[in-house]
């Protein structure tokens, strides 16, 4: 028995080592490539980032798009999922299928569809609010059309995260208990359900953030330049800097993930020591 356990430990170590190498070697190679210089090690690729044309603009645009996408997505999805759970449980599979559909639509096809819609509009409608809306959502300073696309793309991920959170709490009883204590419907949901979905909301927000940070296809085809597109365009002319930005992008994602984990830990610690 002891021999079996030690053998299992050995295998576990080997698998972990292999997995670690699989992830770490390409990253180490990227970091090495970004600092390698004919004169030794140089951090020029990193220090030059801030002054690189388009870096700040693309990063800010991406973070803004991510923030708006997260807000729109959660405002749409959370009330819908709670309402279905409370008022029409039989519609749950329907909502699930609708939210999962974007998974089977490739981003290229989705973008082609969007282009088709945005290009449509007969000339005689040019002065109407309908047409102006089409123009407004495509303004380069803040292309709302990308938010629409990102919300659709993030729908399956956010739905999964929120669904697992909602499964963990007895929403119906909690709402009924809150209403019995004098809370109106909206107040019961905001005061009792939403705080208990904190982890799921953070997960959904993080997954959406990660998707928006890395999304390239739609933004590129529609002609906008958020962070991922900027990295690609820089890579064509300044290879070392594009790898440095990729490493930085990875670090940003990690930092966000760590913040999320820390928030969860803080919550657990708070409840455990109360």
């Amino acid at each position: 028995m002891a021999q079996l356990i030690s053998r299992l430990r050995l295998w576990r170590g080997a698998v972990l080592l292999l997995a670690g190498l699989y992830f770490l070697v390409p990253m180490a190679a990227s970091v090495w490539f970004s600092v390698d210089d004919v004169d030794g090690i140089s951090f020029d690729a990193y220090t030059g980032l801030l002054s690189a044309p388009g870096f700040t603009d693309s990063l800010v645009l991406t973070l803004e798009l991510a923030a708006v996408t997260v807000v729109v997505l959660l405002l749409l999805l959370v009330p819908a999922m709670i309402a279905v759970r409370l008022g029409a449980p039989r519609l749950r599979p329907v909502l699930e299928v609708v939210c999962t559909l974007p998974l089977v639509v490739p981003p290229v096809a989705l973008t082609a569809g969007l282009i088709g819609v945005l290009r449509w509009g007969p000339d005689h409608l040019m002065d109407t609010p309908f047409f102006q809306t089409f123009v407004f959502v495509q303004q380069p300073e803040f292309p709302l059309v990308l938010v629409v696309a990102y919300v659709l793309m993030a729908l399956p991920l956010a739905h999964r995260a929120l669904d697992s959170g909602l499964r963990a709490v007895d929403v119906r009883t909690l709402v009924e208990a809150a209403r019995n204590c004098g809370a109106s419907w909206p107040r019961a949901v905001l005061s009792v359900v939403v705080p208990n979905l904190r982890g799921a909301l953070l997960n959904a927000a993080f997954l959406t953030l990660a998707l928006v940070l890395g999304e390239f296809t739609t933004a590129s085809i529609l002609g906008y330049q958020p962070f991922a597109v900027w990295i690609y365009s820089v890579g064509n002319s300044r290879g070392q800097m594009s790898v440095a930005v990729s490493v930085l992008s990875l670090l940003i994602t990690w930092v966000l993930l760590l913040l999320l984990a820390a928030a969860g830990r803080e919550r657990r610690h708070k409840t455990a020591t109360a």
């Binding site: 809150a178 809370a183 005061s191 409840t271």
Partner: protein, 364 residues
């Protein structure tokens, strides 16, 4: 739980409201949950709604709480029809079966939740919450979260939360069914004491007859959405209005009998007057409680002891008659030792009116 009388317990704001269900009907698709329920809960009493699964007891409670709607009929509290009053304005505190404490709030915050919804200031909220926690005997758990407490403690906090708003009616939806047997016994005594101390009208849903009989002032037995009988526990047990109530509350044995010309029934060779009405036709059964069946050892006796269950002071023997009928009889445990398994016995019924019912139609 604290036995001291708290300011809340003496607060005149709590106390009895009259609750009336009038011809209440509710259907869920093809299923009829309530079929014209008529029931009045008197001010300050604890009324238990008892019945098998699907009899409509929880539906009635949820309609009173405002979580379900009814198809027709009326629900009145102190004479006022509350049909159109939303759940959050019904002034009815409820304790749920599944604890239902808010997981993200401490015990004190859970208790104070309703006060916060009513806009009561923080200091007053905390004072009242502490007062209620003392009332349910858990003042030291104020800062604990639900997952840090046992089921019994969580249910006490839920009770304190339900009482925080000084409701006119307290609704208990099988609050003890998720607890283990020992905690259940302790908590049911405590709930009863608290209810009497506060004098609050309480509707208590349960499928556990022992719970209902031991806690309630009156027990309403429901069957298929209708009220079978509403009476004090002792009356319900000793004078059941229908065969259903007789068999649902306590244990009953059925014995075949025949009607006599003078409106009596003959069972085990003796005539007995009938308690209630005698069914007009068809084969009949007499219903008897185990404590009313007398057994005695007899070498030539027609009954045979086939089972024995030790219940402490008494032992419940099951005897089989020549026609296959099985009858239960409670004997003092010492006396039961004279009737071991397989021994013959004679069986007699006391000379008193008996409850008679139609013999059930045998299943094909």
């Amino acid at each position: 739980m604290s036995t001291a009388t708290t300011p809340l317990a003496t607060d005149a704001a709590l106390g009895g409201a009259t609750v009336e269900f009038r011809s209440l009907r509710r259907k869920f698709g093809a299923t009829t949950a309530l079929d014209g329920l008529d029931l009045t809960v008197r001010p300050g009493e604890l009324l238990a709604l008892l019945g098998p699964s699907g009899c409509g007891k929880t539906t009635a409670l949820r309609i009173l709480a405002g979580f379900e709607t009814h198809d027709s009929g009326e629900v009145l509290v102190d004479g006022e029809d509350i049909t159109r009053v939303p759940a959050h304005r019904r002034d009815a505190g409820m304790v749920f079966q599944s604890y239902s404490l808010f997981p993200h709030l401490t015990a004190a915050d859970n208790v104070a939740f309703g006060l916060r919804m009513r806009g009561v200031g923080k200091a007053e909220r905390l004072r009242r919450a502490q007062e209620l926690l003392e009332l349910v005997g858990l003042p030291q758990r104020a800062a604990h979260y639900p997952h840090q407490m046992s089921g019994g403690q969580q249910q006490r906090i839920a009770l304190a939360r339900a009482l925080a708003l000084q409701p006119r009616v307290l609704l208990l939806d099988e609050p003890l069914s998720a607890l283990d047997a020992k905690v259940r016994l302790v908590l049911r005594e405590e709930i009863r004491r608290l209810q009497q101390e506060l004098g609050i009208t309480t509707l208590f849903v349960t499928h556990d007859q022992e719970e209902a009989l031991s806690m309630a002032d009156r027990v309403a037995v429901l069957r298929a959405g209708r009220l079978e009988q509403c009476a004090a526990p002792s009356e319900l047990y000793s004078r059941p209005a229908t065969a259903f109530v007789a068999e649902f509350v306590g244990t009953m044995s059925r014995l075949p009998c025949t009607r006599t010309a003078d409106g009596h029934v003959e069972v085990l060779g003796r005539r007995h007057p009938v308690d209630g009405t005698l069914p007009a036709d068809g084969p009949l059964h007499v219903l008897v409680r185990p404590e009313h069946v007398r057994l005695a050892p007899a070498a030539e006796g027609p009954a045979l002891v086939v089972a024995a269950a030790f219940l402490g002071a008494v032992t419940r023997l099951t005897v089989r008659l020549p026609d296959g009928t099985e009858v239960k009889s409670d004997l003092p445990t010492e006396a039961a030792t004279t009737l071991p398994l397989g021994s013959p016995a004679t069986l007699t019924l006391p000379d008193r009116p008996v409850l008679v019912d139609r013999a059930p139609t045998p299943h094909p």
